[in-house]
């Protein structure tokens, strides 16, 4: 009996399936597509098994090669990491179910392998306890993402993929430089260990490695102005991939930044800088999204905006801010992933990504459109959806101290939410009430595409009806995150 | 109780009598100004009797019939809220502000009836009437507010009482009184404000289609109307009166002035009439109001 509660399995299982896929592929390329759902399902089950443990102990640590931290590579799962792992597994499962029907282009075996690797990398990123391991996970994620973005091999996706690749590689190198600098300074790669040892460094000394790590991760995490690849890459990828990229990958990178900032560097002094970056991200993302004609590009820009939004909440540095950030991450991941899946399903019918061509399809593709509306409402933060509570939390966190600056910040935030509302409502209007183009034959997408996002939609609706437990949990997570000693002690407790 | 019943029957008759006599005077005086002999003094009464007893009468529908009735009913309603010497009447049930709106009911009835007749002349007439009303209402409400503020009451009877002994509002608030006069003058539709009925333009306007007993009702209504406007002005600015005789005299003097003006003035275009009312009368009324506000 395998110990289901070992978090290493979260990485091991999908990796195993990747190799399995490589083995199977020569015999049946089509069979490989059934592997990702299985792998992600197993992952999801494991993560769910881990919940009670994490709830009980706070942080669970798994070691490799039987050596206790800080030596050797270790995995440390705390509340935030686990939640993101759950989201990653869930989204992976749903997107891979969606793939069954969605991906018709060859080579399918390679696609499935890359897709599995992408999921693995993301899960890996959020549960690792080791800085270099983080880099490796980051690279696994990025390289598979590069491949997936360029998967369709048409003009746009190749251009986007190339841009993404160059940016991503630079980012990875920067991250590596930062990690190495940390190693040079502290002589260890374990996050908890670094965290303990870094206390003796001054703000200025910490700044150099931090800036490299921040920039490196920021490229992947879609922070302004490092995010220019994102609006090209996310739409260019197949929709299921976009949903993973937008839904959880940027978030995983943001997670890494949060982990580095809070746990490793304990860098509260940097927050004004982060806040500025986050705000710019938000403003530029939402503003650009407003002008998009391409639905996937609009969603991608909206991802930038949302990233800015929850990163902003995080950069407030208070428990409530972190709580809001986490809630918004959850909300954004689920909704944005669903929106991308739906957009994909619609594009298969409309054969265009232009919003104008979507007019009137609400009458034909009822389920898709309704769930699109649900996702958009949740993203905009309209009650009773979960986004409302996260928006509220973030606003409350921002205005915890009322002064001129916080009010200005909130005004900017809310103005951006108005813009977000403006473009989402515009899309929905044309979807539901626009005139259907003459001579187009549009019907509901095939059930294989609909069922996955409906599952996601049901999750969102459930959150809308029972937000309280999640809000309570998110508060716990935020508290745990901000009390970094808990994490450090849990990891180094073996010593 | 008996007294109440007597008032209930007598007041309309009195008002009608006063009104009809003024209508008679008007024709007579007008004729004399134009160096004519003019019809007999009781000619309006004869007209009404003639109209009511006409044998053939047309109707355009229920509201066409109902319009004059509403107008007359409203006029009868109104007179009970304008105190005459020695009698409070129903002033306790509705004060001056309410009275302003009670007076509107009649126009509504008139408008509905005229509208139903499907004659564009009538419709234009009503549109003009309402616009004119909108025009003179602005200075009028300002005037009313000045008076109410001056006497610290909204009860019309109390206002007349407060003016007892020659302290007429006319002398206390001369500017308001002038504007009030201009308003009453316009409300009676005399030259130059006779845009509503203007026979040469809209063929007597609202009345274009009316004939027979309908027109008879409207004539009766007009008699009440004359009484109402004059009585209101007398109550507001000329201190009411101690007895019916004086009351009649005051009204007559007022009416005489109005008739003199009426006979010598040409006609405004409707928008000019509105502009006129919104310019000088309003400014004068506001001045008066500010004086009241500052002076207490």
């Amino acid at each position: 009996m395998v110990n289901l509660t070992n978090p290493i399995l979260l990485i091991a299982v999908p990796l195993f399936f990747v190799f399995l896929a490589a083995v199977i592929a020569p015999f049946s390329k089509r069979a490989t597509k059934y592997l990702p759902p299985v792998a992600f399902l197993i992952n999801l089950i494991i993560t769910l098994y881990l919940i009670p443990q994490v709830a009980e102990k706070g942080v669970i640590v798994a070691t490799t090669a039987g050596i206790k931290p800080p030596f050797a590579i270790n995995i440390a799962v705390d509340g935030l990491g686990l939640s993101l792992a759950i989201i990653a597994s869930l989204l992976g499962l749903i997107a891979s179910l969606y793939n069954l029907k969605y991906i018709t282009e060859e080579p399918q075996d390679k696609f499935n392998m890359l897709f599995l690797l992408l999921g693995t990398g993301i899960t890996w990123m959020v549960i690792t306890g080791d800085m270099f391991n983080l880099f490796v996970a980051f690279e696994v994620t990025s390289i598979s993402a590069f491949g997936l973005v360029g998967f369709l091999r048409d003009k746009d996706s190749i251009e986007a993929g190339f841009k993404y690749l160059v940016m991503g590689s630079i980012g990875a190198s920067l991250l590596l430089i930062g990690v190495v600098m940390l190693y040079a300074a502290t002589g260890t790669l374990n996050m908890a260990d670094i965290a303990e040892k870094i206390a003796r460094f001054s703000f200025r000394q910490k700044l150099l490695p931090y800036s490299f790590i921040f920039t490196g991760l920021g490229i992947e995490g879609a922070l302004f102005p490092l995010n220019a690849w994102l609006p090209d890459a996310h739409p260019a990828a197949p929709s299921s991939v976009s949903s993973i990229l937008s839904g959880i990958m940027t978030t995983a990178a943001i997670y890494a930044i949060i982990r580095a900032t809070v746990t490793v560097f304990n860098y509260s002094a940097i927050t004004p800088f982060i806040l500025l970056i986050a705000l710019l991200t938000l403003v530029f993302g939402e503003t650009s999204a407003f002008f998009q004609k391409d639905i996937k590009r609009m969603l991608a820009y909206s991802t930038i905006g949302q990233t800015g939004f929850f990163f902003f909440a995080f950069s407030l540095g208070s428990v409530q801010g972190m709580q809001g950030a986490f809630m918004q991450i959850l909300n954004h991941s689920l909704s944005k992933a669903m929106l991308f899946l739906i957009a994909g399903a619609m594009i298969t019918q409309v054969h265009s990504r232009n919003i104008d061509d979507f007019s009137g399809i609400g009458k034909k593709m009822k389920i898709s459109s309704v769930f699109f509306a649900i996702g958009a409402f949740s993203l905009m933060g309209l009650p009773p959806f979960f986004g409302f509570w996260s928006k509220l939390t973030i606003i409350f966190a921002t205005l915890a101290y009322t002064n001129f600056y916080t009010i200005t910040l909130v005004v900017i935030l809310l103005f951006m939410s108005v813009i977000e509302g403006a473009y989402f409502f515009r899309v929905m209007q044309s979807m539901f009430f626009g005139k259907l183009k003459e001579g187009t034959e549009i019907k509901e997408a095939s059930p294989g595409l609909v069922v996955p996002f409906v599952i996601l939609g049901i999750v969102i609706l459930t959150l809308a009806i029972y937000p309280t437990p999640i809000i309570a949990v998110s508060k716990k997570i935020a508290v745990q995150l901000i009390h970094r000693a808990v994490y450090i002690n849990a990891v180094l407790g073996g010593l | 109780m008996v007294k109440n019943i007597l008032i209930a029957i007598g007041l309309p008759l009195l008002a009608f009598g006063i009104g009809i006599s003024f209508m008679g005077f008007k024709r007579k005086i007008g004729a004399r100004i134009q160096r004519r002999y003019g019809p007999p003094f009781h000619q309006p009464l004869l007209d009404i009797i003639k109209l009511l007893s006409k044998k053939s009468d047309i109707s355009h529908g229920i509201i066409y019939d109902l319009g004059p009735m509403i107008a007359l009913g409203a006029s009868i309603l109104t007179i009970f809220f304008i105190p005459i010497p020695g009698l409070k009447l129903l002033t306790g049930s509705a004060d001056v502000i309410a009275l302003l709106y009670i007076m509107v009911i009649g126009s509504l009835g008139m408008g509905l009836g005229a509208g139903e007749s499907a004659n564009p002349n009538s419709s234009i007439g009503i549109a003009r009437a309402l616009t004119l009303m909108f025009g003179y209402d602005l200075p009028f409400v300002i005037v009313i507010i000045s008076v109410l503020l001056k006497y610290h009451t909204t009860n019309l009877y109390a206002i007349t009482q407060a003016q007892a002994g020659g302290h007429w509002a006319m002398w206390v608030l001369p500017l308001s009184a002038i504007v009030g006069f201009i308003v009453i003058y316009g409300a009676m539709g005399e030259h130059p404000f006779d845009v509503v009925t203007a026979p040469h333009e809209v063929a007597t306007g609202p009345m274009a289609e009316y004939g027979g007993k309908h027109l008879g009702l409207l004539f009766i209504d007009h008699a009440f109307h004359v009484y109402i406007e004059l009585a209101l002005f007398v109550d507001l600015f000329m201190g009411g009166a101690s007895n019916i005789g004086w009351f009649y005299v005051k009204m007559f003097v007022l009416f005489l002035i109005i008739v003199f003006f009426d006979e010598v003035l040409p006609r405004f275009r409707i928008d000019d009439a509105v502009r006129f009312y919104w310019r000088w009368p309003t400014i004068i009324a506001l001045t008066s109001l500010i004086i009241v506000l500052i002076g207490g």
Binding site: F162, V166, F284 | L90, I97, V104, I105, L112, L130, G212
Partner: protein, 626 residues
């Protein structure tokens, strides 16, 4: 029994879901559920008549309890919400027949009802805001049911509504940041103890939200489009109820959160009432007059009613903002009355549109012969709207006038009185152009609307009479509500107000009975005359011309054109145009902003270098961020 407040709140939501699902089975199931559950809500509401509930805990969120409560004022508004919604549901059974997506429409209608009910029942700002947001987006979905043009209108509405809601959200968050609880009572205590600048900021932020919803100028620009383009029953809900919710919010803000004495302290200037309230009064006053002028010049029946709504809600806000017992009572009473007569008018005009398919006033005419019931409803509606006795609109307006006079706010009083006279102009135009005058040949075969659509018209007409002649019925509730909020209620009786203390007296029963007596006298004179005979509408005086069937012999286009000549120069610019200009410049600015994503790899890479060197610069500076 306490539990049932939750039940009351959930009833419409449940009804909405059930009617949505029921509609999948059969449309009659949908109607049954919708009507059943909205009547049930009304019935449940009556259990709370005269029975306030102070504290019903709904749950806990962010450490602040979410509570429901019901006091007489919220009861009054809940009553408006449920009644008008019920009637709208009944009305739309026939009105919306044959359109697509009806299941969803009824669902939305009931959810809006539930959300508005939630707002009136809310006992803390969080609950209030939660339902407020639900209301704004669900009502948006209702507005855009009206076809192509309504989408644009709805878009404007939702954007303005989000802005308003967000402005409220800032205020709520500011309060939360101070005391971590949002219960009205605690908030009131906080505000009483806070510095004045904070209080004023809170007030302004809230007021923006409420002004948008209540359509007070200058935040009214969504109204004329939204009301006119939405389906008629939706317009009546919007105008009858949604606006009232804005007014209710304002009432809560002024009296539950701030209180007159606190407002008096905020900006101690010498005005008849606290400066803030006086300012609001002026906003309302300008709303009244300007939108009256605009309504007079409309050619579109529903646009006319929309502008008239702005003007009438001005009276409500004006009354509430006076701050005296009489003014508040007048404002609240007018809220009730306006809900009654404006919904009535939207229903009747909806009925006309239902039968004729047009709402262009100059195309209509003479429908009285075909649709007598609708005409009667409209007649009652316009009399009430114009504030002419003896119907209900008069009483509440009169109370507002008296209150203004009592306070010597003479300039506001002038605006209010003028607005009322002006309203007489446009209501006459409304009834004249639709029902009176010449009946166009194409409407020769128009029939009266089906019975189900007549029900709301009958009931609301009855309402205008009942609350007109017996204002005491409504005053019972309002007086208790005033007492609840610590205002001494004025003296009143069933038929009116005995007056005193600078206030005139009013006895509606006398006015109406004398009026009826006068009518009888007139009728007797009329009946004594010769019998009349009906003639055709073409048998008409035309200065020698012969009127035939194909002549358009009706004065209805540009009814008040000459009046337009007087006021048009003033209306060359409008708030709407200013907003659009702002939006346009913001658009241009944003368009430039997004060009930072140039599409060039080298630019993107150089951003990285920029960021890195920025950090290096920071290190040179000594690591100081700010």
């Amino acid at each position: 029994m306490n539990m049932s407040l939750m039940v009351l709140l959930l009833t419409p939501f449940t009804g909405g879901i059930l009617s949505y699902l029921g509609g999948k089975i059969h449309r009659s199931v949908r109607y049954t559920f919708a009507i059943l559950f909205s009547s049930l809500t009304l019935v449940e509401l009556f259990f709370y008549y005269n029975k306030p509930v102070n504290h019903f805990v709904l749950g806990k969120m962010f450490g602040s309890v979410m509570i429901l409560q019901i006091n007489p004022i919220s009861w009054l508004f809940a009553f408006i919400v449920t009644t008008i919604s019920l009637l709208a549901i009944i009305f739309s059974v026939n009105d919306m027949e044959g359109r697509g997506g009806l299941d969803f429409y009824y669902f939305e209608l009931m959810v809006v009802e539930g959300a508005m009910l939630g707002i009136t029942l809310a006992g803390d700002l969080l609950t209030f805001f939660l339902f407020w947001e639900i209301m704004s987006w669900t009502s948006y979905l209702l507005i855009i049911q009206g076809g192509n043009k309504s989408i644009k209108a709805g878009y404007k509405y939702i954007i303005m509504s989000i802005i308003g809601a967000n402005s409220m959200l800032i205020a709520i968050a500011m309060i939360y940041g101070k005391i971590h609880t949002l219960v009205f009572r605690n908030v009131a205590m906080l505000l009483a103890a806070s510095p004045h600048g904070f209080d004023i900021a809170i007030f302004v932020l809230f007021a923006i939200g409420f002004f948008v919803e209540a359509a007070v100028m200058p935040l009214h620009t969504w109204v004329s489009d939204a009301y006119s383009e939405a389906p008629s029953s939706v317009s009546s809900v919007l105008s009858g109820v949604l606006e009232k919710i804005g007014a209710y919010g304002l009432f809560v803000l002024l009296y539950a959160l701030f209180g007159v004495s606190l407002l008096g302290k905020l900006m101690p200037l010498r005005f008849p009432s606290p400066t803030i309230m006086y300012t609001i009064g002026w906003f309302a006053g300008i709303s009244i007059v300007v939108s009256t002028f605009l309504a007079i010049l409309q050619e579109d029946a529903k646009k006319l009613l929309a502008y008239s709504s702005i003007s009438q809600i001005g009276y409500v806000v004006l009354g509430i903002s006076i701050g005296t017992s009489l003014g508040v009572a007048g404002g609240l009473f007018h809220a009730l009355n306006h809900a009654i007569f404006k919904s009535l008018l939207f229903f009747t005009i909806g009925a006309v549109i239902y039968r004729t398919g047009t709402r262009n006033l100059s195309e209509l005419g003479g429908l009285i012969k075909k649709m007598p019931v609708t005409f009667t409803g409209t007649l009652f509606g316009i009399i009430a709207l114009a504030g002419v006795p003896p119907l209900n609109g008069f009483v509440s307006k009169w109370m507002i006038y008296e209150a203004l006079l009592q306070k010597k706010e003479v300039f506001l009083l002038i605006l209010a009185l003028i607005g009322s006279t002006g309203s007489f102009l446009y209501v006459y135009r409304l009834i004249h152009s639709t029902f009176l005058g010449q009946l166009p040949e194409k409407f020769k075969d128009v029939k009266e609307v089906p019975f189900l659509m007549q029900i709301p018209i009958w009931l609301l007409s009855l309402g205008t009479i009942v609350f007109g002649i017996w204002p005491g019925l409504a005053m019972n509730v309002i007086a208790r509500g005033e007492k609840f909020f610590g205002i001494t209620p004025i003296k009143y009786n069933l038929y009116g107000f005995p007056g005193g203390n600078g206030m005139g007296s009013l006895k509606m029963i006398n006015i109406s009975s004398v009026f009826i007596a006068g009518l009888i006298v007139a009728y007797i004179i009329f009946a004594l005359g010769a019998k009349t005979h009906r003639i055709s509408q073409y048998d008409n005086y035309a200065a020698g011309q012969v009127v035939t069937k194909d002549t358009k012999y009706n004065y209805s286009y540009g009814f008040y054109m000459f009046f337009g000549r007087v006021v048009n120069p003033v209306f060359k610019w409008s708030a709407d145009k200013i907003y659009l200009a702002w939006a346009r410049s913001a658009n241009v600015f944003g368009d430039y902003m997004r060009r930072i994503y140039t599409g060039n790899l080298e630019t993107y890479s150089s951003y990285i270098v920029v960021i890195i060197s920025l950090v290096g610069f920071l290190i040179l500076l000594g690591g100081k961020i700010w």
